[in-house]
């Protein structure tokens, strides 16, 4: 570490009042503004889709998610028409089943989660006075994946080929389903889940490393806290579902019987994996939406939030507790009462942080001088609806009551109350609140009230009676019901209400889309809010923040009256872009002291190509076109490598940069100071969670099935397993060695290690495949899960090999030098995780049969 002197920041920090008070000469202001404008200008005309600015990608993301929401809403309207009267035959049972499956799937996977990502991408940098997200191209890639996957999945409806097994796809119904429906669901949505994880990585790094200087963790906007918590939850919630999808698709494609009880499998494993994802998912949707309320309420109360620490506690606590609830979706599956009791208890416990959150809002309104506004009206509606959903949630958490109403319309009512109150209303509040920030115009107060009262009334007319419908015995997911059941009048009311909701949305959409050319642009801070996003430029500029401020309070716009003026003058950090690069400031995790002027990526076609080929790799298998899928996947890898090679971790032309206010910052970092390293770390945490889920599957079979492993079963051959461990562990050691030798300037040794390491890894892979070759994965779940573990390790080792070769190529071509070695740090990190994966997988394959 002898060159740290050159790589650390130098100069005075934090800035003194005298430094900040010094005016910036007008010609310098003009020059730096012109530089920034040129660097951040998004592409125009036919190149517009190559834009990666968060303001563009975030907006596309939000509009696409909203479009899918409207489509899923139309499906709901058709279902309501079918159920309006008993014994109706408006649509067939099969079409009804496609519709309810797609309604749920689209609302969850194509609206709720992407909408959170969209809003966060759109506004998080502004809350943090930042220029953009740390990885703009990754956002764009995630968005294009989302578009392709979403269109593919929704498009299946047009071909009457949509999945029909419900949004939680329970096997064996879903595994036995003929036709491509289940595959479309699995592959299309897995693809989108991966995009979600990409967004989570981006948002966590954004909240931790891209805050403005001085914004310590105790003064960051609550929205950033929520994003951080939700990002973490995605990392632990989505991977189990991806692992489940992996097993599910192996069963669909190759008949490996993971969920087939006739060959030792167990459909219950899917239910576990699905709901370990599914329940946190509800909070993943809820928390960032309530975070919007946490931003609106202080503005309305015209005072800082009361109970900031309480809300942080509530977000973090909910994040944890939400992972102890999943079995409350499985209360009727016949677990011992004592097991149900634990989940009942956690389900009640999670109410407490949620309640604290609401009372903190109430306390803020009490302590402040309330100035009602349209966004607050929506928040108030959200609270009225959400508290009702929360209270029915308290009821449902009591297992014996759940035995009665589980899978009835009571649940349908409950979940819509929580999601409308916890997500839809706050998000619409956010649209009204942030619209002037995004479009520099206001939405109509009058239309907004109309939309509110239509949606609010329609909602309650639709869903309040459903509680009773459920108590009177109507199960969910029925395409019709007999007249004698007596549910007709309730369903009639619900259907009428649904059309009132639709009318409200029509008003809202019109308000959103109607031309507003003649309207004057808004003042900069129309709500008199205190957070940084309202320092935005009117008319719009694409640079995010004119200069990145030094922040010392939770509500800088309230507490520092000169802040905006100084930002505008370019008084703060990174006021210009002398080399024409897009840059943002990277700061330390806890105290946000400046560390790095990070160059961020600009417009490109490569993310579209990468997303297109990745899409092919997921979509072709749906039609069993495996060769095409493999070719498409290979092209995707090539595209991603090209993207990484050309635009990430390039040795900089200028090692240090004058960041303003006398502070000089490095422009390159490797290891834990680099945002890329954090991204890899977080991604691998998610990957490890998915792997842990597959291993959980192995032990689940052991507890759930008396014949696992079956008597007289063949096991993996121990010698090749041992050999595989040895070879892969050595490959890991050499990768680590290469990093050390390279740092120490022994480039030759590092290159030799990077040649030997992939060869060893390939040998290890061959040995591992050899060790299970004699097992027949279609015969029983025991050989199948061993094969699955093998496939998992082999696929990851293949990625590990590509990474080693990438670094070797970097070293040979001068992209990777002893000083600029971020790539090598990152792949070493991957190999740490890979080595752990190998050890665990081989222990399970090789040792567990002996032990059990």
């Amino acid at each position: 570490m002898n060159d740290t002197e050159q790589t650390g920041p130098s100069g005075p920090y934090p800035p003194t009042e005298a430094m900040l008070a010094k005016p910036v000469p007008q010609d310098e202001q003009d020059r730096t503004a012109a530089e920034l404008r040129a660097a951040w200008e998004p592409p125009k005309g036919w190149r517009y889709p190559t834009a990666v600015n968060n303001s563009e990608v975030g907006l596309w993301y939000a509009l696409t998610a909203f479009g899918f929401m409207l489509l899923a809403g139309v499906l709901a309207l058709v279902m309501r028409l079918q159920l309006m009267v008993p014994d109706n035959d408006l649509i067939s049972a099969d079409r009804f089943n496609q519709f309810f499956t797609m309604h749920g799937s689209a609302m969850m996977f194509l609206f709720a989660v992407p909408m959170f990502e969209a809003i966060a991408i759109l506004i998080l940098p502004a809350f943090l006075g930042g220029r953009d997200m740390p990885f703009p191209r990754l956002s764009a890639f995630g968005f294009w994946c989302f578009v392709i996957g979403g269109v593919f999945v929704m498009g299946s409806l047009l071909f009457d080929a949509a999945p029909t097994a419900g949004w939680f796809m329970y096997p064996p119904l879903a595994t036995q389903d003929e036709g491509p429906g289940s595959d479309i669901w699995l592959l299309g949505l897995s693809f989108i889940e991966i995009a979600s994880i990409a967004a989570a990585v981006e948002l966590i790094v954004g909240a931790l490393k891209c805050r403005p200087p001085g914004m310590r963790v105790n003064i960051m906007p609550l929205y950033a806290w929520y994003v951080l918590v939700v990002g973490g939850m995605i990392l632990f919630a989505f991977p189990p579902l991806i692992a489940g999808d992996f097993l599910f698709e192996l069963e669909r494609s190759f008949d490996w019987p993971f969920f087939d009880p006739t060959r030792g499998g167990d459909p219950m494993l899917w239910q576990h994996l699905f709901w370990i994802f599914g329940h946190p998912e509800v909070y993943i949707v809820f928390l960032p939406s309530i975070a919007i309320a946490a931003m609106v309420i202080p503005t309305v109360a015209r005072r800082p939030i009361v109970g900031y620490s309480w809300i942080v506690l509530s977000a973090v606590g909910t994040g944890f507790l939400s992972f102890g609830l999943w079995v409350h979706h499985m209360f009727t599956t016949g677990f011992p009462n004592i097991s149900l009791g634990f989940f009942s208890a956690a389900s009640e416990a999670v109410v407490i942080p949620t309640g604290i959150q609401l009372f903190a809002f109430a306390a803020t309104l009490i302590a402040g001088r309330v100035k009602m506004s349209l966004p607050m009206l929506w928040i108030a509606g959200a609270l009225a609806i959400f508290t009702a959903g929360g209270l029915t949630g308290v009821m449902l958490a009591i297992a014996p009551f759940n035995w009665q109403v589980h899978d009835t319309y009571f649940i349908v009512a409950h979940l819509h109350y929580t999601l409308f109150g916890g997500m839809v209303f706050p998000v619409i509040a956010g649209v009204y609140y942030f619209y002037p920030f995004i479009r520099k115009k206001m939405l109509s107060e009058r239309l907004g009230r109309w939309a509110f009262w239509l949606i609010f009334t329609g909602f309650n007319v639709t869903f309040l009676p459903m509680h009773l419908t459920g108590l009177l015995g109507m199960p969910r997911r029925v395409f019709t019901y007999p007249e004698a059941a007596g549910w007709g009048w309730l369903n009639m009311i619900s259907t009428l209400g649904a059309f009132v909701i639709a009318a409200g949305f029509a008003v809202f959409v019109w308000d959103l889309l109607r031309p507003k050319g003649d309207q004057k642009e808004v003042p900069r801070n129309p709500w008199d809010a205190g957070t940084l996003e309202w320092s935005h430029d009117v008319p719009a500029e694409y640079w995010g923040a004119r200069s990145i401020p030094h922040v010392t309070s939770r509500y800088p716009l309230w507490d520092d009256p000169k802040l905006v003026e100084r930002m505008d003058a370019g008084r703060y950090y990174l006021p210009g872009s002398p080399h024409g690069h897009r840059e943002t400031l990277v700061t330390s995790v806890i105290d946000a002291s400046p560390e790095l002027a990070q160059r961020v990526t600009g417009p490109t076609w490569i993310t579209l190509w990468a997303a297109g080929f990745t899409g092919g790799a997921f979509i072709f298998p749906t039609f069993h076109m495996y060769p095409s899928a493999i070719v498409s996947g290979a092209f995707a890898v090539v595209c991603i490598l090209y993207w990484l090679w050309t635009s990430t971790a390039r040795p900089p032309e200028h090692g240090m940069r004058d960041a303003g206010l006398g502070l000089s910052l490095p422009t390159y970092a490797s290891g834990p100071k680099a945002v890329g390293w954090w991204a890899v770390w977080i991604t691998m945490l998610g990957d490890a969670t998915a792997f842990a889920s597959v291993v959980f599957g192995f032990f689940f079979y052991w507890t759930a099935k008396p014949d696992f492993p079956p008597e007289g079963a063949m096991h993996a051959a121990p010698a090749p397993v041992g050999l595989a461990v040895l070879a892969l562990a050595l490959s890991w050691a050499l990768t680590l060695g290469a990093r050390h030798w390279n740092r120490a300037g022994r480039v030759g040794a590092a290159r030799a290690a990077l040649i030997a390491a992939p060869l060893l890894a390939a040998g290890g892979v061959a040995a591992l495949i050899r060790s299970v070759q004699h097992l027949e994965p279609t015969a029983h779940v025991y050989p199948a899960i061993i094969w699955a573990l093998m496939v998992w390790v082999v696929a990851h080792a293949a990625v590990g090999i590509i990474m080693q070769l990438y670094c070797l190529a970097g070293s040979l071509t001068g992209k990777l030098t002893p000083r600029f070695d971020a790539d090598l740090w990152n792949i070493t990190l991957v190999w740490h995780f890979l080595c752990l994966t190998v050890l665990v997988a081989c222990a399970v394959i090789g040792l567990a049969p002996e032990v059990l």
Binding site: Y13, R216, F320, L340, T703
Partner: protein, 135 residues
């Protein structure tokens, strides 16, 4: 990591320096809840699947685990309480931009998380106390 910075104007007191803090630390109490929860569910599930006769012993074990978890959370909470330093500062909001405020804020948040975790652990013990069969 250290030493490369210029001496700062507000040279932060040693106990408040950033390197001594970690966001992970405020999660220790909830992690204790997780451990208790996983142990409870795991022990009950495996006992009922493989040896229902041992449920009595398992329940006693889980009650002991509860005492242990509560002790750990109490200790974490006490440490966090001292870090918050409420009795000396009377500061309930920790809203300022100094290292000291951040330090106390992290203590404050950790106290509250310890409180919630303790409630979670107590709730999680109710089934062990009230249900005594594998039915």
């Amino acid at each position: 990591m250290t030493g490369e910075h210029q001496p700062r104007a507000d040279e932060e007191r040693r106990e408040f320096r950033e390197e001594a803090e970690s966001l992970w630390r405020i999660t220790l109490a909830p992690v204790t809840w997780v451990a208790h929860f996983v142990a409870s569910y795991g022990v009950a599930a495996v006992t009922c699947a493989k040896a229902p006769g041992l449920l009595g012993a398992a329940r006693i074990g889980l009650m002991l685990a509860t005492l242990l978890a509560l002790a750990v959370i109490a200790w974490l909470g006490w440490r966090a309480w001292r870090q918050w330093d409420y009795r000396n500062t009377g500061d309930y909001t920790n809203a300022l931009g100094q290292a000291e405020d951040r330090h106390q804020f992290l203590g404050h948040a950790a106290v509250l998380l310890a409180l919630i975790s303790a409630i979670g652990v107590v709730y999680g013990t109710l089934p062990v106390l009230l249900l005594d069969t594998c039915r």
